[in-house]
Amino acid sequence: MSGSNLEPSTTRQSLLRGDTPGVRTPRSRAVWAYVGVAPFFIFAVMFLLLPSLSIFVRSFQDLQNHFTFDNIIAILTGRDFINAYKASLSISLITAIGGAIFGFLLAYAVILGGLPNGVRTFLTTFSGVASNFAGVPLAFAFIATMGNAGLVTRLIETNLNVDIHARGFTIYNIWGLSIVYMYFQFPLMVLIMAPALDGLKREWREAAENLGGTTYHYWRHVALPILLPSLLGTTILLFGNAFGAYATAYAFSGSFINLVTIVIGAQIQGDVLYNPGLGNALALGMILIMALCMLGYVSMQRRAARWTR
């Protein structure tokens, strides 16, 4: 399709370069070509690379800017830091797996479940909105839903006549926040899995059936192996998505749940750790985990792409 675009034909090249005839040597032309992308990369270096690099360097510096491993060791051994990472990792894991399962089932139901056609457009539109409806308003929405005076809370209390807060039940913990996160997690899964499910060719199922395979065989040996990279890749993406979230958690429960992002936010607003190096080391840990996620996601996407051509 795009082969003609990519193929460098000599006449076209010469025409393109003919704007300034005889002024530039081929070498300087190549250099000039790079000038065209310079603003973008200068921006990336200034506002992405250098800040990340500075976090990396400062993680290994003490208060006098001398090299040290103390910050890293403190993060790896300090109970508060370990707990913050534990909280962040567990909420990411819960909502990634939960979101992946529910999102997949929903995408499957709509694409292959024999539902009316209009449902699909409706669902993808809504998933687009919901996956972007994160942050402060989402937190308020769930406070209005299942907070102390929320609609669902009141419905349960009046209809079932129980005081659900009597036993110290609260939504302002990891499980409550997980329910909130799920609101933007599973729509993301729907958005990414819908095209993957579309890519399952009818012929594959027919071939499996012609060979005497049951639905189980089809899923076990054909559909699942094909979908697995997309499934795993998207689950990893959801994990990273929850791991980096800050606004939603902050607006939902203040600094009640000690996520890594919440601790870093507090560190920015006032040096709560009394040591800038510790904040940097915490942030570095986040970057490393997120980078691993991205690596996993990209490699899974590559595998998945084999079947979507």
């Binding site: 929903l106 996956s131 402060v136 308003p137 991205m294």
Partner: protein, 287 residues
């Protein structure tokens, strides 16, 4: 394909008739659980939205009213901070477009080898969460040689970084759909300079792609909290949070406003992109 056609056909006819029946059965059975899942999904979508709306109507005891909205819209700080968000959104969109469109165009035309590098950069918001980026920016530009803390530069830079993934994705998809090279050559042979080519040839052809990038960036910036709050700039996100800590009911009214903004933006994207092929799901970074 043509191996043992005769026998194959017979087998196909047999299997086909059998398959049809089994398909009908699975479809019927499938529909039941498909509906259940769908209903669960719709409940998850709508119960919080409905609850928010219901909650926002309960400011006056014993009856539903729009009192919370009256209070929300009666606060002069609402207009102040909302106006700032509009300003940030406008600047972000302008900078993001100026940065992405020429770069993506140039990469398509001259430097296809650089495409993975550009794409990698645009995916960075997934690797560096907003709160971590703010942390790095404040530390780096908080003291000489370059001091940017206190100027809106860091805020805009942060927002532009947030917009990179979908802006690039949208423009990239748009560029794939048109023949960049031929259009450029045609313009050049008619004597157009680079500025004219971008402004009069490439931009108009990318209208749909650019608009979807613009609306999404708008939606993201209008509700953004992390950058504005931690860099201490007035914006709608931090305002909502602040009101949430002070009052009941009004925050939910603001949430409804914010939701309508997101909904409106996505709706506009769908509207401008109707019929346009290759529209991908827009995926945002973490917030």
């Amino acid at each position: 394909m043509n191996i043992e056609t005769g026998r194959g056909l017979g087998a196909w006819a047999f299997l086909h008739s059998r398959k049809k029946r089994s398909n009908e059965v699975t479809r019927k059975r499938g529909s039941v659980w498909a509906w259940i899942i769908l209903i669960l999904g719709i409940l998850y979508f709508f119960v919080p939205l409905f609850s928010t709306f219901e909650f926002s109507m309960r400011m006056l005891k014993g009856r539903y009213s729009f009192e919370a909205y009256r209070v929300a819209f009666g606060d002069s700080r609402f207009y102040h901070d909302f106006g700032f968000s509009l300003l940030w959104a406008a600047i972000t969109i302008a900078v993001s477009l100026l940065l992405i469109v020429p770069t993506a165009y140039w990469v398509h035309l001259r430097l296809p080898k650089l495409r993975p590098a550009v794409e990698f950069v645009t995916l960075m918001p997934f690797v560096v969460p907003a709160v971590v980026l703010v942390f790095g920016l404040i530390k780096l530009y908080g003291s000489p040689p370059i001091t940017l803390v206190g100027t809106p530069v860091l805020l805009i830079a942060g927002y532009v970084v947030l917009s990179l993934p979908y802006m690039f994705r949208a423009v990239d998809t748009g560029l794939r759909a048109i023949d960049v090279r031929t259009l450029t050559e045609a313009a050049q042979s008619l004597g157009a300079g680079w500025g004219t080519i971008l402004k009069d040839v490439i931009f108009p052809n990318l209208r749909v792609a650019i608009l979807s990038g613009v609306f999404l960036t708008f939606a993201i910036v209008m509700g953004e909290f992390t950058f504005a709050a931690l860099l201490v700039w007035p914006a709608f996100g931090p305002y909502m949070e602040e009101i949430g800590a002070m009052r009941a009911y009004t925050p939910q009214a603001l949430s409804v406003v914010s939701f309508l903004l997101t909904w409106g933006s996505i709706g506009l994207i769908q509207w401008v992109a109707r019929g346009a092929p290759g529209q991908q799901a827009q995926i945002a970074g973490t917030r």
